[in-house]
Symmetry: C2
Subunit: 192 residues, 2 copies
């Protein structure tokens, strides 16, 4: 369905997998943006801010391509959780989230610099966990080493048994809101 | 994590994939049960009834194994939708569901005959579709030929862009409620 060359400005294997799932051809050029968690912004603005920075940094090098930037965060008790820096932090995050409901937000920026197109949006999904035992958390952290995932879990691996309920876009929790993206993408390519 | 030999009494490649995702070892022995859609039962009872029949038919041959039977249906406007019998029926189903919310129910039966264990339960998930154009429906039916799927769609393929929102267990929509299953499975194996 591609009508303009696409670049995914993200090194996430999950985002790559999802875009392939919907039949898109694209190049992967990860941005070099560092996500600064000390930045004080409302959570939606935070995710959109970094999605925008990621898209911008790659769009500046490839102004004739449609560049996709995305940033996924987990929000619990008004605290933004990114990727854990080590196993201890991962264990702590899962203990907080056990038996509770949190929000996953992915900010997305679609930029085609030459055409002055820059669409920014975000998608929120509520996720409710089962109660997790200490053993389950420890086994999960040791076996799956989810240090590359916001909130320290992958809803698409063994951890799926721990997710009681999703309210919103499931793929947003994996790392990219396919349905919301597709609506924006359709609107952009319809203008060519 | 297996502590008792498991049999999946279903030929569905999606159920097989999901049970592998959570690290289970199992044998696949599809039941030969015919799903009779003329049977008048409330939708939850319908799905549980056929899950039970599927598990029973295999458990009778393998009474010392834990047999998993499952049946997934789509319910819209009090009508039960199974797998479409041809492309025209598939197209009709997607036109009904376009822009609306429907319910996916999977009935599950876990039977270990020798130990007189027979757990039956079901899981319901609400699914909201984007508005689908005639073109999108036609392309999807022609390209993906979803005749082996209840409701005529696969939430895990291209169709993911058409699903606006899920409320409940996502994997239930794929064909097997992983989280609810795991809770029951843990309870059963803890008694050995």
């Amino acid at each position: 369905m591609n009508q303009v060359p696409l670049i995914l400005a993200s090194g996430s294997p999950r985002r790559k997998f999802l875009l392939k799932q919907i039949g898109l051809d694209f190049q992967v050029i990860p941005s070099d943006i560092y996500e600064d968690f000390s930045l004080r912004l409302p959570s939606k603005d935070f995710a959109e801010h970094f999605a925008k920075l990621k898209a911008h940094s790659v769009a500046n090098q490839f102004p004739d391509r449609l560049v996709i930037g995305a940033d996924t965060i987990v929000v619990f008790n008004n605290k933004i959780l990114g990727k854990p820096s080590n196993k201890e932090e991962g264990t702590e995050m899962l203990s907080w989230l056990s038996g509770k409901t949190h929000t996953v937000i992915t900010g997305v920026c679609l930029e085609l610099k030459d055409q002055k197109i820059c669409e920014i949006f975000s998608e929120e999904t509520r996720v409710t966990f089962q109660h997790l035992s200490k053993n389950e958390i420890q086994n999960y952290i040791e076996t799956y080493n989810p240090l590359d995932k916001a909130g320290s879990y992958g809803i698409q691996d063994w951890f799926s048994v721990c997710v009681k309920k999703v309210n919103g876009c499931y793929y947003n929790v994996v790392g990219f809101p396919l349905s919301a993206f597709y609506q924006k993408y359709k609107a952009i390519i319809s203008t060519f």
